[in-house]
């Protein structure tokens, strides 16, 4: 049973009309076949608007990662509808999907996934280089983005020379540098201590989130629930509820 306190049209209690960033209806996904068949998503209905920070929460194996993978276009659903800014990945060729992802989706990972042999600025520049931008221009923009996340002076550092929080800030800069319209984050704070986790969430909320951009964060870190605009609780491949932090009696974090 899905309960939602808000629609994609009016979010954050601001009354502003926002565009639909992600629309999922009756999305299903199954892994394996026969006796080894596992149904990861069982008819997911979920809308996410631009300017919204949506958290997907739930126990391990509930389908959070599968759902975020489907939303990000790196995993094909079996059935149902799922569009990202009106685009249905299942109707696209593999190369078109890859291209769309490169231009429109930013990724933040639990383990940061920074390339260890590249400097911070080079890591941030990677999405731009994938899109075909020249190396020096891309690295310059990477440095500028690092300044926005407070790491301007560490642009030459290798990931191994940075703390976990700093590495995640580099990863956020990498997710933002090409101005994507959707940012998906997989457990962005679970490898970080409480204080650093809050720094990262403030960065995501205040720097990454814009009116024309949506953020989807998969987490089971209850300490950061207060940063969400809405929280979708998943269990056994279904969305059990969608609530605001206030409705869950969680203090709103800023």
């Amino acid at each position: 049973m899905v309960t939602s306190s808000a629609t994609a049209g009016t979010m954050n209690g601001q009354g502003a009309t926002r565009k639909l960033a992600v629309h999922c209806k009756s999305v299903t996904k199954t892994y394996g076949a026969g006796g080894a068949k596992v149904t990861a998503l069982r008819g997911i209905d979920l809308d996410i608007a631009t300017g919204e920070l949506m958290m997907l929460v739930g126990p391990s194996g509930c389908g959070k990662t599968t759902l975020i993978s489907v939303i990000a276009g790196i995993l094909d659903r079996d059935a149902g509808e799922c569009t990202v800014f009106g685009v249905d990945f299942n109707t696209m060729s593999a190369s078109a999907k890859t291209k769309f992802r490169g231009s429109n989706v930013g990724f933040v990972f639990q383990a940061f996934n920074l390339i260890p042999t590249l400097t911070a600025a080079e890591n941030v520049a990677v999405p731009l280089m994938i899109l075909g931008e020249g190396r020096s221009a891309a690295v310059k923009k990477g440095k500028e983005m690092l300044e926005k996340v407070g790491l301007g002076e560490r642009y030459k550092s290798l990931p191994s020379q940075l703390s976990g929080g700093q590495q995640q800030r580099v990863a956020i800069a990498r997710a933002l540098v090409h101005e994507p319209r959707l940012i998906v984050c997989d457990e962005p704070t679970s490898a970080l201590d409480h204080e650093t986790g809050h720094v990262i969430m403030r960065l995501l909320k205040n720097v990454a989130l814009k009116d024309d951009r949506a953020l989807v964060i998969v987490t089971h870190d209850a300490r950061i629930f207060g940063f969400a605009d809405r929280i979708a609780k998943l269990d056994d491949g279904e969305v059990k509820s969608i609530q605001t932090p206030e409705e869950m009696n969680i203090g709103v974090a800023k």
Partner: protein
Amino acid sequence: MIRTAMKMLMGDRLKYTGLLLGIAFAALLIVQQASILVGLAHQTGSFIRDTGVADLWVMDDQVRFSQDSLPISDNTLLRVRGISGVDWAVPMYQGFLKSRLPDGTRKVVILVGIDDATLIGGPPGMVTGSLKDLRIDKAVIVKDDELETKFKMKRGGDRGLRVGDVMSINDQDAVIVGTYSAEKSFFWEPVVYTTYTRGLQYAPRERKLMNYVMVKLKPGTDLEEARAQIEKATGLRARTGDEFEQITADYILNETGILVNFGLAVFLGFVVGTLVAGQMLYNFTLDNLRYYGTLKAMGAGNMKLVGMVLAQAMVVAVLGYGLGLGAGSYLGKLVGDAGLAFRMPWQVPVFAGLAIVVCCLIAALISIRRVIQLEPAVVFRS
């Protein structure tokens, strides 16, 4: 993205060095074994090149290599000289004879008897004395750098043979009147030169003793025509120096198993190179699979990633090959200085380079398969 690929490749110095050394080792194996094979093949023709003044060598049609001393009739010389277009023709005797050094050391030598009058067919250069000294009674000349090696007298005095020493060949005295320089020979037995007439005196009695007739054609004479006339007149085989070299090399390489052994070593170098490069490149790709997955998720297409892996493979191929070739050349110099067979014509580096590129391409293709099959969703697995 290629530079990013290079930074991924070279960033981990230890892995990068290991990868380079693995490929360099494979290149070294291929270059070294191929060069030794070519060197040995080249050495088989050293005697023919050293006596390279003749346009044609007339020999028994069963001769298999340059030291295969099959006798031909003495009349052959006169018949060849009678053919129009022949400028000169000289006899040569060649035979494996027993000898004894002054201290009693026994040794088998290849005795070469060259034309008494012209001394054509002698070694390419003299170190001590003159070729004309062969006209002195009982005179022979030996190779200079073999005095202290093959002619080392270990039974008395522990010294090498010297000019003036008297050795015996087939129980007849032979005086060392000079030393010559020549190419390193494939054959272990030292080559001792004397005149044709004296050569026949040293040789054990046989009905026919001449082995070759060396022929020089007059300028403007058609080689093929002259060859046909000589073969018709003598019933023997007439071959150019290059052809004789090829006959010799073919026989020795095929009949001794050298070609199979060294060819196998070159092949093993290729296999080891492919395995080493393949294993290392594959491991390198596996180690970076997470990052390839990240790039894929972020919008890098398969072609871009394939380009990155190929660029990495080609860079390590070229650099590893360069290192291997350098090491191979240096080893070759050491081996060459020691007088061993090593010869690296341009075909060897080209062949080795292609082999290494193929090694690395095969290795890259195995890695590329993994990268192409990689699901970008792997990035969300912690």
